[in-house]
Structure formats: C-alpha cells, structure tokens
Symmetry: C2
Subunit: 403 residues, 2 copies
C-alpha cells in the first residue's frame, strides 16, 4: 500500500547534513541552519498524477503525500488552505497590470497564512509526541499556533512585542495559551522564549527553528500551480518578514518540477519588505548572501517587522535563483494600496498584503513587471486583524429620519 506521506528525511540546506525525520529536531546540529524536509519524490512521481487531486478536500491536506504527517489520525486541521485566487481586474487597470491576481490568505483559520504553518507544525509535533511548545511571535503566528495547539491538546507558551495586534493577543488568550509581552522586538521575545524552553523543556517552535511549518507554507505554491492548471504565473510578490512563505513557495516549485508537474521558467519570486525594516532588501542590494540585523525596525505592516530572519539566506537564494528581486515599500504607499484594493476590489486586506500590492505598482513603473504578464500578489492575512487602520465616520440618524 502507498504511504500516506512520502516523507523521507531532514536535510540542512547549508552544510548538507541529513537527519532522521522521526526524531524531534530543531536546527542543524552542525551549522545551526534551518532544516528542510525531504520526500521520496521519485517514488511519488511514478504514483501520483495531478488529476488524482480533483476529488480531494479543499484544504492543504489534499497534498498529503507532500506533507510530513505519516498517520492521518495526527492531522490537526481547522480547514486551512485552498484559499481563493482571484483576478484583480479593476485594481490591475489602475496599476497597469492586465493579468493581476490576488491570493487571499485571509480566508484561513485565524485569518492569516500562519494557519498553514501551524497546521503542519502542530500536527507533526503531535505525531512526534511533543506535549508543550514555545515561540516568539509578532502576533499572528502565535495566534495560529495557539489555536492549533488548543485543538491538539498541546500546551503552548508565547511571547510577543507589547504592540502586537490586539486581535492576535485576544486569540492567544481566548484559546488558553500561556502568553507574555515584551517591551521590545520579536528578536527580544525570541531570547526570552529560548531561555524558557531550555528551563521548562518546551519544544522551541520559533520560525525555522522547527522544520515543519515550511511544509504548510509551501502549499501556497502548490495551490497557485494547481489553481492555474499547472501553468505557472510570471511573477509572485510576497510580503517578507521571516521569509518562510517565499522559502516555502520556492520549495514547492522545486518539488513540483521533480514530480514533472510544472516546467521552468519558474515565476520570478519577489520579496517585499517595509522601508522601515528591510534587512533582506539591503542584503540583496549589496549582493550579500545573508542579512544584518535592522536597528529600530518600524512599520505599519507589523507582520513583516522582522529585524533579522534565520532563513534570510534561503530567501535570497530563492529570489536570485528565479530572477526575482527584493523591494522596499514605505508605509504611505502601503496604506494607499490598502485603500485602493478595498475601493476597487472590495477586499479588506492586511497591511503586509497591501505592501506587496504597492510593490507590484512600483515594479510596474520601473519596468520590472511587464503589463501583460501574469502577476500574483500574496495577501497574507485579513484586514479584520487590523481594525485600527480604518476610521469610519457616518451620519447618525434618529428613528424615522429621512436621507
């Protein structure tokens, strides 16, 4: 009988060392780099065809052979994935892109793409017998992991900046997570969590310190390919903080290529950062393989306020290998795009997604994007998580008043 998952082993993308996937592992013991999950793609390619996916559930678990959970009984799902990918014609008209699409990750449980990584990360944690996890967060990842841990019956400890979005704080609190705030950045939260994990024996699930969240996020790439009938778009723009989304999408492309389901050229991957926190853009512009910690990071797009990402070198590799680019967007452009998407398309997106929309307009103006190419912008979350950005004013009427 065919296995449920074709999971093979873990591999260090920096030094090449391999690890047994069925033992609890964080990063590479040799060089400290994040580990990537490997599958037996040769065996799978012989067995599975794209058409086999047709009748499967509309969640990311439709790709179970390419996901790390061996026993379906361990899957913790709230229906994440298979989010809408819709044409943005009225927006495209304004920015000069004839074939512009938005993939709306706001339609995930907990309202952001973080649910994908939490679903695979928590499911695999359960499969490996982990009973308590801990992580620093800018808010949304913590909210998502807290939700999936609650459903799995796994304990979780979180630490987030004091200015993390209130709704993410509420999510974590509501589902019963052990939560802390720190008067600092996510990197400061990370140090507190790392120490706590050592002290209490919690499994440290910070971004890329555990191997399985990438697997959930790579399904964004699998879905884009499937939703376009396995014809890849020209460019994909991704708001980039920790960078796991873009790393995951690139990993998905490589795996689909190995299966023979898609062909090169790959979409150009564009990492979008905020002008107030753009360490990866700086590294890209300087031709460096890694980034340097960004001091005094500040942006309205809090989800991409990551001063130093553990996977920065993987992001830069994905961007360079696909002929993409890295681009910084200032908050004014982000907020203008936020309003533009709402007015033209009726979508209440998050500021991170708005930054990526602004970047698309910017790259059209520079000529990087051609007017007729197929462009996909990832909106990583729902605007409902950022209610402070909108200030409604409407006339208040008495009963029986006339308008």
């Amino acid at each position: 009988m065919a296995p449920h998952s074709y999971l093979s082993h873990l591999e260090c993308p920096r030094c090449g060392r391999t690890y047994d996937a069925d033992r609890v592992t964080n990063t590479c013991a040799e060089c400290g780099a994040p580990l990537l999950v490997r599958y037996d793609l040769q065996a799978l390619g012989k067995r599975l065809k794209p058409a086999d996916l047709a009748g499967r559930p509309a969640t990311l678990w439709r790709y179970y052979e390419l996901l790390p959970v061996r026993d379906p009984a361990n899957v913790i799902s709230l229906g994440e994935g298979m989010t809408p990918l819709w044409p943005a014609r009225r927006l495209g008209e304004q920015v000069g892109l004839d074939d512009l699409w938005i993939k709306d990750e706001g339609l995930n449980p907990t309202g952001t793409f973080k649910a994908r990584g939490a679903a695979t990360g928590v499911s695999r944690a359960r499969e490996l017998g982990i009973q308590a996890v801990a992580m620093p967060t800018n808010g949304n990842a913590g909210g998502a992991w807290a939700a999936y841990c609650a459903r799995a019956g796994i304990e979780i400890a979180l630490c987030m900046p004091v200015d993390a979005p209130l709704l993410a704080q509420q999510e974590a609190h509501l589902v019963g997570a052990r939560s802390y705030q720190v008067r600092g950045q996510i990197t400061d939260a990370g140090k507190i969590i790392a120490a706590g994990a050592k002290k209490y024996g919690w499994f440290e699930a910070a971004t890329l310190k555990e191997p399985y969240r990438i697997e959930g996020k790579k399904t964004m790439g699998l879905e884009i390919a499937e939703q376009f009938g396995w014809q890849l778009p020209g460019t994909i723009l991704y708001p980039t903080g920790g960078g796991v989304g873009i790393i995951g999408i690139y990993k998905a492309l490589l795996e689909l290529e190995a299966l023979g389901w898609v062909q090169r050229p790959f979409p150009r991957l564009v990492a979008v950062q905020a002008a107030g926190c753009a360490p990866i853009v700086a590294a890209y512009d300087a031709g460096k393989p890694d980034s340097v910690l960004w001091e005094n990071a500040a942006t309205v797009a809090q989800g991409i306020r990551v001063p130093k990402a553990l996977g920065d070198f993987l992001v830069l590799e994905a961007v360079r290998a696909t002929g993409g680019t890295c681009v910084a967007v200032d908050d004014a452009a982000t907020m203008a795009a936020f309003e533009q998407v709402a007015r033209r398309e009726g979508a209440f997106i998050c500021p991170e997604g708005a930054a990526a929309v602004a970047a698309a307009a910017q790259l059209r103006r520079t000529g990087f994007l051609r007017p007729d190419e197929r462009v996909v912008v990832l909106n990583t979350g729902s605007g409902l998580k950022y209610p402070d950005l909108v200030h409604p004013q409407m006339p208040v009427l008495a009963i029986g008043a006339e308008i």
Copy 2:
C-alpha cells in the same frame, strides 16, 4: 449546449404567483411575500451527476447550474463558499455528542456567511443592470454587500443600528459605501432605507426583499451534502435572525432531492435564537405560522437580533417539515459556549455560532439530540469581527527578562 444556469422563474411561496426572473423584482406584487428562485431541475437532473463537481473550484460557484447567474462574466466573486466542515471531537466529548461537526462560515470573504448572499445577490443585480442598491443591516450583511458592490462597481447605501459591530462599520466605510447609523433597531433602519430607495431610485436589497441572496445561502446546504458524500446528517442547528440561512438550507435539500442526489429523511433543522430576541421561537411554541415583532430586543449575538423577520413563515415551515425545533439560548450560555469552543477546538467563533453550540448542548440534555447522531452546527462568522468579547491579560516583560 447546456445553459450555465438552469434558472427558470421566480415564485411566491405564499400565493403561488410566478414572475419572470429576468426582470428586476422585489417581493410578490400580490401578497408581499419574499419570492423564491426556481430552476429546471428535471432537465438538470438528467444532465448533471454529483461526480461532475469533483474538479470544480472550491467556491460556491461550483454549483453554477443551481445558481441564478446566466452569464459567468457577471459573477462577482471573492472566493466565497466551500468553507470547512470539521469534526469537533473534544467539544463533542464535553457536551455528549459523539459525531458533532462545525461548519465554519468565518472563512468567507468579509468573515461571515453573509458573503454568500452578497455574491449571488450582487452578481445577479449586475446581470439585471442595477446600478445602485440600498439595504438596512445589523452590520455584517452590509459589510459583505458593500464589498461585493465595490468589486462590481455598483453604488450602495446602508443603514445600521448605532451599536452595529465596529468592524462591519469599518468594512462599509473602507470600500466606499454610503453609510448611515440609526438610533434604533434594524427594523428602524429598514424604514429609512425603504424611503430612501423610493426617493433616489435605489434597488431595495433588504433581507428577502430581493430574491437572490437565498440562492447564495442555500449553498451551505449543498456543501454540507457534498462534504459528507451526499449522506445527510441527522440535525443541523442554525443561528436564526432574518432566517435566510435556514430557508436556504431547506431549499437546497428540496432541490437536491428533486435531482435525486439525496434521500429523506432530511436533517432536522433547528432555528436557534437569543433569549433576548426570540420571535420565531415564540411563534413555534405557540403553534403559529408567523411571528410577532419582539419588543426591546437585546443580545450579545447582534447578528440574530432581528425583532421581526420577513421570512419567518418560511423558517417555521422548514423547521416543522423536517421535524426540527426552535430554541432560545441566553447570553450567558452563549458566552460559555464561545469560550468552550475556543479552548477545546482552537476556533474563535462568533457569538451567533456560539449560541448554536449552546443550543446543541441544551438539546442534548433534553434528549432531542441523540448522543450518536451526526449533528452539524453552523458557525456563521469569525470571532475576529467581535473583538470586544475577549479581554487579554498577559504579563509585560522587560528585554532580557526570564519566565
């Protein structure tokens, strides 16, 4: 060539009069009742089989033959529908239901099931050449219609109670709707809108004053049937304000039966209301066919605060025809269920959905629900739209602190 839609005509469920579907129509000119959309189910039943749906997009438009839009170019979609239906095992253990499921409508654009009705209503409005619509709303329907109208380039005027959820106000404002508040209930807003519609020539799209939103909402019933492999559950609980959801689900069951895709017995349909606004429960208990306006309506579940629903008689008919019941839940039970679902399942549901969960527990205790039957609770929206319900408290740490 087979038509895209099998739309046939409109019909009054009270007096039986029929109407041309391709003319702009509100309610029955004869008796004032809401109109229902009819399809050529006989022709469709010969042509379409359940297996034909397999490769279609994961939105409600997968059922396009059973939807009223004749030309696919008129479809205004943000990816609504095909929401998750997940087993609530840990919650079920606590309430004594072994086969309890939640259908999570929070994973729709604008965060509630209202997106379904807005998608079909606005698409059909566009198809019929309507350029401006107006409606009263408790908040979420207005937010949804405003979003779809923005995407369609149709003008919209809204009026909502002053205490409508802030996020729904923000949605309406952000997408550019003409919005008003009234110091009163949705029924008061309705009078203001009806007068405004007459004055300015807007199409009145209040609940059940236009025939097409039911069509979007009935897809919840189509999806439940499809997601369970066309094996119907024992009972479906639905939080009921205007009642369109339950009317739509019943309509879906009848249509699927006519197609030969499902068989009786139908699920027992349960209308759940808040104890502070329970006109339909009162009518049900009194054996009446219609409800009486509920004075001083008040509940934490604002979405079901509807003192008098135009479709009350259709709700009561659906409940009685399926052997269901109507039940009122007090706000304390609703808030307890809200927290219970979060802690046990990791889901941040809306108070209306929580009322339905509380009702399930209540009906298990009375014996109406058997412990082993398959029970589906509709969670009609995301808890993200009700941030005021959660009050997080977490320790604030200094950089470098220890936990």
